[in-house]
Point group: D2
Chain length 408, copies 4
């Protein structure tokens, strides 16, 4: 018997906010109706605000984010093109694998799992090889909880005089972490609906710069379903080239409203605050993060190393079966050695305490030596201070528009 809410702390799919869930509860409609474009064109325009993309376009393909990875490659590059990539976690590993299978000539920098993109090494490669057509960056490596610095990659590319395209996997960053497609000179930013956008999976998203759009016009790679050109031709008049997933589009409308209403900066600040609290908790347990240095700490997912002799998968299994709590397991090279706490999307401080409280029990059950409640206490202290500071800086108390009625 499954009793009570399942407490969901995988780094995607994330909890769908009530307002978004409500918005998806729709009857079907004609996606070729004359007033459908009003709806679509507003969506596409607001998506650009979330990608922080002024020029260029955001494209939405029915599919998962893996499809967006493929769309980025097959539209903007030709088979045989040399590209620069780093491999430092399961998802960057998979993107390298895809690039090779799709025929790219990948210059791959292997980096320890727990570190981010090696910017200096990238710059050296770019200087050494001016034929590199594209640089790939996994902004937030979900498998290790590592955020790389995209802006410095852009600066390294510029310093090296490269005119390569900059392709960024923003699946677990766009809509949650600070992400600035224009400012950072990102040519293609890949995202999916099931992370910061707080929707079910099913929409593959790409922010595409003018430069990347031009590259897509030149590329000769065969493609059809994910072809930018067909999508653009339909989008220009407010339609899709094939039937779109309507509940997700309506959910996206609500999600964009929520994100833009909170404000991009506040969304990022909240994720930072939540992530920092979780890290304080992990520190109080005496455990290490998978991320090897504070400069790599991710504000959307925390991968925790379990002590030697403990099986990370057992933490997840115990949490799931005994405590109805879902964490992410270790993937690839770190399978069994980490477990992951997702804290992105529709989460708040108390949600993070829930995650820590459940993790503590599972860790204790599988034999990790830690003090029960210690992680929760550390995070509580951080959150109490952070929220008090925020209110002090920020706001009348109680919030304006709230009636001062005593709680009955």
């Amino acid at each position: 018997m499954k009793i009570g809410t399942t407490h969901l702390f995988v780094p995607g799919p994330t909890t769908v906010p009530e307002v978004v869930r409500r918005a998806m509860n729709v009857a079907m409609e004609d996606h070729r109706a004359p007033d459908f474009p009003d709806f679509v064109l507003d969506l596409l325009a607001d998506l650009k605000r979330v990608f922080r993309l002024r020029e260029g376009r955001v494209l939405l393909f029915p599919g998962s984010a893996t499809g967006a990875w493929e769309a980025a490659i097959s539209n903007c590059l030709d088979r045989g093109d040399r590209v620069l990539m780093a491999r430092h976690g399961h998802f960057s590993h998979l993107w390298v694998d895809m690039a090779r299978r799709l025929g790219l000539d990948v210059v791959c920098h292997d980096v320890e799992w727990g570190e981010g993109v090696p910017v200096e090494a990238f710059e050296r490669s770019l200087r050494a090889d001016p034929t590199i057509k594209a640089v790939f960056v996994t902004h937030n490596e979900t498998a290790t909880g590592v955020t790389s610095d995209v802006a410095t990659v852009r600066r390294a590319m510029d310093a090296a005089g490269s005119d390569a395209l900059l392709l960024v996997d923003g699946v677990s960053s766009v809509g949650s972490l600070d992400f600035r497609q224009d400012d950072w000179g990102v040519d293609v930013a890949v995202a999916g609906s099931q992370k910061g956008f707080m929707l079910p999976a099913g929409l593959a998203m790409l922010g595409v710069s003018e430069k990347a759009l031009a590259a897509a016009e030149r590329s000769s790679t065969e493609r059809c379903y994910f072809a930018f050109r067909d999508m653009i031709a339909a989008n220009d008049v407010g339609y899709f080239p094939y039937t779109p997933p309507l509940p997700l589009l309506h959910g996206l409308r609500a999600s964009l409203d929520r994100i833009l209403d909170e404000g991009m900066d506040d969304v990022a600040a909240r994720h930072h605050r939540l992530g920092e609290g979780v890290r304080q908790g992990v520190k109080a347990w005496g455990l290490d993060l998978c991320a090897l240095s504070p400069r790599w700490y991710s504000d959307t997912v925390t991968a925790v190393r379990v002590p030697a002799g403990v099986d990370g998968a057992a933490v997840c299994r115990t949490a799931y079966h005994r405590y109805r709590t879902s964490f992410g397991g270790g993937l690839g090279k770190v399978a069994g050695r980490v477990f992951r706490i997702g804290h992105l999307g529709d989460v708040n401080e108390v949600s993070c305490l829930t995650a820590l409280a459940a993790a503590e029990m599972a860790l204790l059950d599988v034999g990790v030596d830690l003090e029960a409640g210690a992680g929760v206490a550390a995070a509580q202290a951080y959150y109490r201070q952070a929220l008090a500071d925020e209110e002090a800086a920020d706001a009348p108390w109680p919030p304006a528009g709230t009636r001062l009625t005593a709680v009955l």
Copy 2:
């Protein structure tokens, strides 16, 4: 901006389980259709299993549980009838008030808030006054977190040779605490949809014994909307005398399936386990319960006394505004002196830790001196032990029917 789930720990309305929520997402239908009775009659039969009522009937009126209080009185008693009641919390207070307003002659025993029904005093009253027509018991006083012992009231009535009706407010007990209408000789048990039944408010429920049905035939009190007779006449052929709230009926179907699938004994055991963990947490804070003795401890709601000088309402306000967590405030005589944690319905161990973690922050913020994390730790210890024991007693591990696939 409301970000993230609101963590709901009021003692009703309780969280609606996903399966119930799904079931309520219905289109309207004709409530006089020829196949509607199949649906209704099964519902009514299964409700009897939850009330543990073999003879008699369960009646469902569109309304809140307060309406069921009134229905119990107006159907089974006449104006001027002498009845025996106790007042030991806000809800028992309100029922006394209603009984008087509806014209009953109430013999009222006032008891300290934090204690339960005074069985010995009741027995004395019954012996002294054979004209008493009904005894009222608030099984679980939601305002103070006090559960009274209905079975001993029945024994006292029998010992006193009373043939009064036994009317029980089971609003926050039926479907969650151990409740046995037949075994305890309860003539009318009042319940509502928004507590143990895990639905929105809107269904007033009454379990009615054959004796109470007979009394209803004799009573001359004017009534119409809540008249048992009209409801029974319609129910007999599977209908309602007026349009019922269809989403609630469909939700009730799913809720009954969930409750009966878990099993009545397991439901009660789970609530006991959850409540006990919360009480361990409160004890670790060094705070007192409103319930004055372990014999009164409620497994569905815990009312916590705040220290002198602290405003209980401020705990609720802080939790709500700062931590998006809803607790129940103090009501009536204990307003400002307690706050209440609901732990009934679709809750599990981790939910209760969430409540404790949020409460700790709010208590600290309003100046209560306690150790952060201490309550969570105490509950964790209890839950870990309790669940380990349960599994040992109970079950192959992992649960049968679960594939042994490693978490990827």
Copy 3:
């Protein structure tokens, strides 16, 4: 197997619009939260706009509309009060029955079923008996499809110098037909959620004038659940005296937005247009309405007399089982002699054609001699003309804000 939509044409519960359905898909929340009153007070204010009530209040009780009938009586009148009522259909019959059971002294005018309230007879009674405390009017008798003229009843009362209260059953008129509580001097208007408000049943609504509020202060009838005073005390600070049905309140928010956005006059005009089309269809079948004169024609429900020798219930049964279409059966005196087509709430022209098309098949199947398609054709002709006129009068074509994109 139930395949395909059930086509719902009972006169309540009516089809819930998508936007309302979506709004009801909510998680539970604390109904005593400090920001809950903002939500409630706006609802109550907007309800007054739909009742067209400037002074006074609208009260919402969890319950069905039958409860609102009872609330009107038990709050505003005393047992033994003499009241004036008419009986001309099943629902007016039931209200009379309730009034008597609740102890009123009913002066009842029996009128042929198919006619409306006998205003002249009412005026004579009022002149003859100045002790009459209240006049009851069933604005729209749902059982016969008869709308009475409330304004003339008010004028008759005034002409007779009566200061009785005017109590109106607006269950199947408020929110759909033209209804003007202030202009018509209605003291209590009773409504329910499942008709013009396009919600599931579960909210009993009362529009109450200042005069009726004053009467409620004086009445000595015992009441508690439906007591205006308790509800008002809680409403004054934005709460309810007991847990309200939250999904219905959120649905009501969406419903009010829809109604007020369409506009009260346009809502009434649409219902007139829809009803007139249905009547044209019935006429083309060669069948009679239950309503005996055009002055009584209801724009929300059409009761159709079946020819002698035909069982009206068989029409409903055949439509339901064979054609998945729900019509209302004949009730009370006209059971078996009529079937009823509901056309209120979220309906449009094509919905009404659906009803006529299904009814034609069922009528033919049970042996009624009519020309298939004739009713549909008559309604089509009417609707085509009416919509063309409306557009000519009204609007640029296509609607402003609609992109002129060719349908792909």
Copy 4:
């Protein structure tokens, strides 16, 4: 203002049945949870029953059916492979276009729009050119309402001694028309969620024979997102290689239950009955079908030719704006010359009458000379007879399990 239901008669997305809609209203969950495979493996097994595929597999990709077209090509064929296709409507045209863009050497038979696959010509081509690696058939051409005979194509292939793969577009046939993957020797059958499966778009489905699976192992075409091999490796243990669209999977569970409960033969028989009624209606209007011969008539979509001088798009626009009814417009070569009525999925007889009634008004409004009501009447006559026959053959009346309660 959009008032009342939009009457949806496009040939996809189709109306989502209530039971399916309910099933999609889910919270997110961990798609890598240990019990997720139980759910997935049952889904995949039951999908095979709908494709009528005993050997082989059904694969589900997040995407639209266009993606499934591409998956069929990129997995089973190599660039440069010669394939045999026919072009006789917009969707077969698009598949040819895709095949060419993806590098296939297409032998294309152009056929008049309104006819089906030219089996004799196919057989001649196959005899003439033994290098043909695959034969593509659009089973139901949604743009023209034409169903081709897949079984005869298989026989022609066998007669010609071809060992080519047989790839079939079953997007608007699988789950609605009679479709038998094994019996017809179909190697890849492409489907989508938004037609016969009665779900929103978002799942690309492929039924794949063992022979096609073997071909996929040999093909050297670059592919990754749509790679059978990756999907199969994950499916084998009950997972997906990337996050699947959870609401659609839960909806699919409910949809499969509905389809299998009705029974594949009964589903096909119902669609035939519904389609035949619509065709009777069109005939009564005096209009022609786009399908040029009864052998091509589609039971899921009827494309109606409008008279010379009339704009088919205007029929759709008028129906949409004035009557809130959505029809499909003409696509490609027949743009402006036809409009299309979808009658697949969760539809019944009365739904089809609704479509005809609305179409009649729109046709009259744009100047087509026809008798109002005539199409409805013809369909009514057909449906009444068909349902009476079915009941006579089939069933006690009323249906077993239905209480014989008189409609109140």
